[in-house]
Symmetry: C2
Subunit: 235 residues, 2 copies
DNA sequence: CGAGGCCTTGATGCACCTCAACCGACGTGG
DNA sequence: CCACGTCGGTTGAGGTGCATCAAGGCCTCG
């Protein structure tokens, strides 16, 4: 089915940012296939051929890389309006798995066609470059986190990052549901699930947050920020 | 001074990959300013305005991000033919420092002009997208390293990565000089310099490598590879 | 010759991992 | 309906890999 970008509520978060009506129209004709992925279904797998980028229309994804020896690591959690598949452009093969953490919908964007139309829509090309660049900046933030923060700092940074992203999407920045397990959080943050659990408990003891299983409530945003070692939160 | 890409020995590593003679000509007219940076000089600083990408023509750089609280982390080491500044596209501000580890030369590539000509040279645009994507893949590799490897595995992975990159540039894959200090390696690998030093000593005791200060000789590539936990080496 | 940068090595401590027990929620099948 | 297994989460006890602190060696440079 055709999913016109023109009428999409994510226009301000997604690829069309900064385009005029006509340009959005053109983009909308390239973006086809609103595709549904069930919870724990794969959007793509590492090693499969790359054809399209995917924009998340609704739902929540994780991406993870797998080593030959079985070690696995979550490289990111992805929300509505974000673009998946950027890693696959380089070798025309996906380098990670993308798995839905809840029932989700994505728009498929055939990459070759995106490149075609970005020749005639410079602002689209420019915005696409910004999106790729932002991904690089984000990854540098994670590298900083993994390379130099303690467990509690990592978790605080993670929560603030989620909070900010929920806020940008019109949800509460103070209260939200985690879509991922402690193990997945741990994998992303370079920690074991027990350590994640203990860090949650510790933040709760200090009345900074309230944890009820996957439900998180932030009581004291500024003290949570102090827990990060004052690092700016991830993009 | 004009530095024509057409006659550059790095044509096969750098931006011009896959372009025909005429296209290289056009690119060469955009790429100006062969700029010299002395050892420990800055190519760019975090927070300064973004205008241009830089291609390394000779020399060696590190990039590092700095937090408000003074924590610092090396996010990458960069060799000839690689592109610096990709992180700055997103916010039009550099997000990291780039510092020369030896006397170096770079070509300056005004980004706006690069976008202009990539509209008329689709293969240039496509290759540029591949380069950005490769950077994302590389960062995911580092995240995996930081998130799930032990000190010795990290160092082995790091050495293999360097080895491969020297090989690609026509140097020996078995013997090379490190341009960075133990502390910089540690920062990149999320370790303290003492730990890096001990890991070097351990690999030497096992006759896998020979270390003489910054000079590294790899005696047994396959055993070094085994030390990585069989992960593929970073891109 | 002395100072400072870089590296190595040893001793000690601690943050996180590992292993293990237990709990509650949920789904399934007898 | 309840018994049971499974899955995700919490918490405790103990071990370990790396950080930390400290001392000393080598090299360069003023």
């Amino acid at each position: 089915m055709k999913s016109s970008c023109a009428t999409c509520s994510l226009r301000e978060l997604c690829l069309p940012v900064g385009l005029n009506d006509h340009e959005i129209q053109v983009l909308g004709e390239v973006v086809s296939h609103k595709k549904r992925i069930q919870r724990s279904g794969y959007l793509h797998r590492a090693g499969t051929e790359f054809q399209s980028l995917f924009a998340i229309r609704s739902g929540f994804f994780k991406t993870c890389v797998l080593e030959e020896d079985g070690r696995q690591q979550v490289t990111g959690f992805h929300m509505t309006g974000e673009l998946l598949g950027l890693d696959a452009i380089s070798a025309e093969v996906h380098t990670c798995d993308a798995i839905a953490l809840e029932d989700s919908e994505v728009c498929e964007i055939p990459f070759a066609r995106l490149e075609d139309i970005s020749r005639i829509i410079p602002s689209l090309m420019h915005h696409f470059h910004k999106i790729m660049s932002r991904e690089i900046v984000r990854d540098h933030g994670v590298m900083l986190l993994l390379g130099s923060m303690k467990a509690e700092e990592r978790l605080a940074t993670f929560l603030l990052n989620l909070s900010r992203r929920f806020l940008m999407r019109g949800y509460s920045e103070y209260e939200f549901n985690l879509r991922m397990t402690r193990e997945e959080i741990g994998s992303y943050l370079g920690l074991k699930l027990e350590t994640v659990s203990r860090a949650f408990s510790k933040l709760q003891e200090e009345d900074i947050i309230v944890v009820d299983n996957k439900r998180i409530k932030i009581n004291d945003m500024s003290r949570l920020r102090m827990k990060t070692g004052n690092s700016s939160c991830l993009t």
